[in-house]
Structure formats: structure tokens, C-alpha cells
Subunit: 160 residues, 2 copies
DNA sequence: ACGACATAGTTGTGCCCTCAAGTGTAGCGC
DNA sequence: GCGCTACACTTGAGGGCACAACTATGTCGT
């Protein structure tokens, strides 16, 4: 009863690798993005999601869900992006509560520029280390993990 | 030249899953640990590494490397752990520059208690979602990713 | 119409972490 | 012995993020 507490079983190795790899990769990727474009990883993801959205705009709450941030996190993040002119605010005519974040032309240009750096970085640190079929396997395995905070907090039985 | 910039190719899906899974899992795990034991994920890892070390103590700089934190991060983290009495400082007789962090009895007890919660959480959110052989595959794939900041910054040729 | 409840977003507070700069100690060439 | 560089660690400043509390708006039952 005491040994498993301090010496983790073999299966945990994948979890440890997962943790360490994430820390190492995101640190480097984030540094690249910041150095060369002044963006955070999350900044980038927000711009990316906006660029894919209908009309290049999204409700703040939807944005939060997609990039896995809390509402307040999104408020602060967009603050910075708005100051830089990469996104702008838009109010909703039918519901005064919601405000959209809309990608500006400058924002799209920034995203295009950053994507070059970023995709190269991802390839170096992540995708480039695998063959095509391995990537498929990996994607399948990773897709089984939780994606939203809610599916692992005992709220729904769908996680079993 | 313009389309790949805003619409990521298929391979990126595994990267995206990786990012999102990490965010969701660590958030939940961290919340569990904090709620039930008042520890961070990093706190836990530090205690764990110390428990495995010779004499239950480690130089701060080595600790930093293992948990992928900067030197200053370790200083701050240990500050908290020392205040809680889970680790204590020890000076080195042969080299006055180094100071060790040593796990206390209370720290070991805390680790043991937290491990129960934590291992269950990891199983729920990560390892429990795979079969034994899948876990092996996953561990192998993940082990190819960078682990230290230095192996992807051109420092050593060992990453090629 | 009115109150209860849900939803969108903002703000105060605080933690964790990083980077850059600084202190104290070791080892080395001369 | 004396400076030089290397190393271990600490400190100050700042950023990113979460949680909780709050405002404002919408929706529904009665």
C-alpha cells in the first residue's frame, strides 16, 4: 500500500512524457511567437479561430470555449489584441449582452505572417518527429482525451 | 502560399488535440490537488522527485531541470513548500553556493496522501482511456518529443 | 407585468511562472 | 594572491491565467 504512492507504476510514463513534452514544446513555441511577432500561443489560437469563423467574428464566450480559457481570460487576452488593432469589438443587435470579437485586416495579416514561423516550429518540435501513419495513430489516441473542462468533472456520464 | 497560413493541414490535428488535452487535464488535475491537498501540479512533482532522490534531497538546480522550471521558479515554489514544512533547506559543506531541498517527514506523508487522489485522477483522465498496448504505443511516441528546453534550441546535436 | 433564474461579459485579487539583474561563491590562469 | 569567468541561487518587475463577485441583459413562469 505504501510503495505505489511514491513509486509510480509503469503506465505513468506516458503521462510524464506528456507533461514534459508539453512544457518543453509550448515554452519554445511561445518564445518563438513572442520574439518574432509579439504574440502568445493563445493569441495565435484566437486569431486562428477567428479567421475560420463566419464573418471572421465570434462571440467571446464561444471563443473562450474553443481555446480553453475562462471568460475572464478571454476578456484580458482580447484587451491586448484590441490595443494592438488585431481584433475589434462588435455589438450584437439582437442581444445586447453579447459582444463579438472580429478579426481586422491587420489581424489577418499578422496571423498569416505568424503562421509561417509557427507552423515551422510545430513541425520541428512535434509533427516532424513522426511518420504519416504515426501521426494518424497519435491523433486518434489523443482525440480520446478530455477536451472541455466539463466532461471530466462528474457532470455527465459520457466520459466513462 | 496563402491558404496554408490560415487553414492548417491535416497533420496539425494531433498537435491541436495535444494542446487541448493538456489544458483540460492539467486544469482538472491541478484543481483536484489544490482542493484536496493544497498542492500544485508542480509542487507534487517536486515532492515526488525528492522522494526518489538519494537521501530525499536534491540540489535546487537539478530539481529545476527535472520539473522543467527555471531557477527562479524553483526558488518561489520551494518557498511555499518550506513555509508549509514539507521540505527544508540544507546547505552543502563542500560548496557554499549550493543548497539542497530535503523532503521532510511531513512532506513524505503529504506526498503519500496526495498520490492517492492524484493517481486516481490521472487514471480517470489519461491512462484509463487506453488499453495496455495503446499505452505502450503512446509512451513510445511521446518519448520522442523534446524534454528539455536545450535540445530544441540548437544546443546539442543529440536531437537530430 | 413581475420576480426568479440563466447568460454574457467585466473587474478585483491573487497565484504561478518567466526574464533580467544582482549577490555570493568556486575554480582558473597568470 | 588577483582578477576573470562560471555557477548556484535570489530578487524585482511584469505577464498570463483562474476564481469569485459583480453588472447588465434576456427568458420564463405565473
Amino acid at each position: 500500500m505504501s510503495s505505489p504512492a511514491t513509486s509510480p507504476p509503469q503506465q505513468l510514463e506516458s503521462w510524464v512524457s506528456f507533461l514534459r513534452a508539453h512544457a518543453a514544446i509550448t515554452r519554445e513555441l511561445s518564445a518563438q511567437l513572442q520574439r518574432e511577432h509579439g504574440l502568445t500561443l493563445n493569441d495565435y489560437e484566437v486569431l486562428l479561430h477567428l479567421s475560420h469563423a463566419e464573418g471572421a467574428m465570434l462571440r467571446r464566450v464561444d471563443l473562450a470555449e474553443r481555446v480553453l480559457l475562462t471568460a475572464s481570460g478571454i476578456t484580458r487576452l482580447l484587451e491586448g489584441l484590441e490595443r494592438s488593432g488585431l481584433v475589434c469589438k462588435r455589438t450584437c443587435e439582437s442581444d445586447a449582452r453579447v459582444s463579438y470579437a472580429k478579426l481586422t485586416d491587420a489581424g489577418l495579416a499578422k496571423l498569416r505572417a505568424a503562421a509561417v514561423t509557427h507552423l515551422r516550429g510545430i513541425d520541428e518540435l512535434f509533427t516532424g518527429r513522426y511518420s504519416g501513419s504515426e501521426l494518424v495513430t497519435l491523433a486518434e489516441l489523443l482525440s480520446r482525451l478530455p477536451v472541455t473542462g466539463s466532461d471530466c468533472k462528474g457532470g455527465s456520464p459520457s466520459c466513462s
